[in-house]
Subunit: 313 residues, 2 copies
């Protein structure tokens, strides 16, 4: 497997998106800083990058302005084909209107005109470090970029979210900002190298595949939570949770244990925005995915040699 | 000074308040748990506490329900005499209406009917640990309670806020919950001991008196922030900030330094809710306040022997 060579088309148009959730401020400020930098370069008449065109987009400006996750509905759940093609009226939620605008700007989803790569910047209150969130384990681009360095990102031909935490929503921490800014720069550097013909050696990448979500124990009538993440599990994202390990602690101090039949990896532990979605933590299986060596397809390579992954989105 | 003995009236009625800011969830759940406990005791016909009556109040239920700091205006800025006595119409913000309800329930502010002690529970995203925030440095009750263990709390004859962090707003962390629940229990235990005639020895307490607030550097037209708390200052609450110490880091990576003439103690560093109030951090002077020995005034003590502090609010 590691000797296989897959040829893939260049990534000529890349979109860096922030503010899809308006209170996840790292992406907002990474995008604003890149926009200022673009303006400075334009004013100083610096030459443009010739191997990749980068569009920086503040995706939910109204939610950013209000410093809320969303104004009417979660934008990052609006990029289904059904919503993107739905009729719009005066009473359509802002985020649905905006998802269609973004589909015109970055898509249309699934079309030849779509941007080649969408990188969407997110924060979490969970102690997850920097994660790449993608919907496919055979998108060689996402896996390769992650190897070097898990929505809206579905608008492009390829896409992933960079999720970084822990950071409270509505706050910018310098360490998290610098980390994400660097991750974006490394991603773009990787794209430039790829577009310039660099061969990226295959290998393997550790991936965590979501198995299930677990909600907080809740009162039947009020739906109020009755327990919080146990102190022994808090901040232990990507550690293995074994059957009978402590999972929750009730407000009166009792310990509730993980009742599942097999050890799984916990992540998104105590994410602020997921209280309303009924998710206290998510559970995943870990495995190794073998990835092939890849290189840009030039005009000379035969179409039959293409990887199939770029048509999967 | 430490031989002085001050007699103070008993603290018969105490209010424990949570949810004054609806997304500061520790107080919300401490109050809900106490309410469940009260109900359980009532159902089991357990005898009531005879030395202190404790009212537990969810102060901004509408903001709690929405998990937001407030719905229309910051409730914890509404307890001025002007607002408490203002006329109410259909268009009056919810929090102003609610402040008047709370004034009827816990006050009226400044009156003989007011509860004796209001303890209001707050969270911060700043790394401040557990702080007692009070408006007087001669309220012997607050200082004594703090010595054993820095608003709405102004409704009672005595009052303070318990501020605890770091915790993202909209999140409950078990360690922070347990810490605050214990602080509330210790406060009530102190009140029971005081009301039972225990003499509390004087001594001294370290207090931090607010000198000024510092805002983020902002863009002139958009008012967007141009820098964040420097990584060397982040999480360093109650450490001394010296002139020329790094204070901010711009989004392009430059360091901005503290320009003040004297070393001061930084606190509320990078508190989420203060971005909109124009406060990146607050600065304080530290000093030691001598506090007298106190004991409950019984009917036999002469009125002239009273401390003056209980009339200052």
């Amino acid at each position: 497997m590691d000797s296989e060579l897959v040829f893939l088309p260049p990534l000529r148009r890349v979109a860096i998106c922030g503010g899809t959730h308006g209170n996840e401020l790292t992406g907002v400020h990474v995008v604003r800083e890149r926009l200022r930098e673009e303006q400075r370069k334009a004013e100083e008449d610096e030459e443009e990058d010739d191997v990749v065109s980068v569009a920086c987009v503040l995706t939910n400006p109204r939610a950013v302005q209000q410093c809320r996750r969303y104004t009417e509905t979660d934008l990052n759940r609006c990029f289904t084909r059904a919503i993107l093609s739905s009729a719009v009226s005066d009473r359509t939620p802002y985020e649905i209107v905006r998802s269609q605008e973004l589909n015109s700007l970055l898509g249309p989803k699934g079309s030849a005109q779509a941007v080649d790569l969408v990188c969407d910047l997110h924060n979490t209150t969970a102690n997850m470090g920097l994660c790449v969130i993608a919907y496919s384990d055979s998108d060689w681009f996402c896996l390769h970029i992650f190897k070097e360095a898990y929505s809206l990102d579905s608008l492009g031909k390829h896409g992933f979210a960079l999720e970084i935490g822990p950071q409270p929503h509505g706050v910018v921490r310098s360490n998290i900002y610098t980390f994400m800014k660097t991750a974006v720069e490394l991603t773009l550097e990787w794209v430039r190298l790829f577009n310039s013909g660099t061969v990226f050696e295959g290998g393997s990448v550790e991936v965590y595949t979501m198995v299930s979500n677990i909600d907080y124990p809740r009162e039947r009538h009020t739906h109020n939570i009755m327990a919080v993440i146990h102190p022994k599990l808090q901040d232990q994202d990507f550690c293995l949770l074994h059957p009978k390990d402590p999972m929750f602690q009730t407000f009166s101090g009792d310990t509730l244990r993980y009742k599942g039949p097999e050890p799984l990896y916990a992540f998104f532990i105590n994410e602020c925005a997921y209280y309303e979605k009924g998710i206290a933590l998510s559970l995943a299986r870990q495995r190794c995915v073998a990835i092939p060596t890849i290189q840009m397809k030039s005009g000379l390579q035969h179409r039959g040699e293409e990887g199939t992954s770029e048509e999967e989105d």
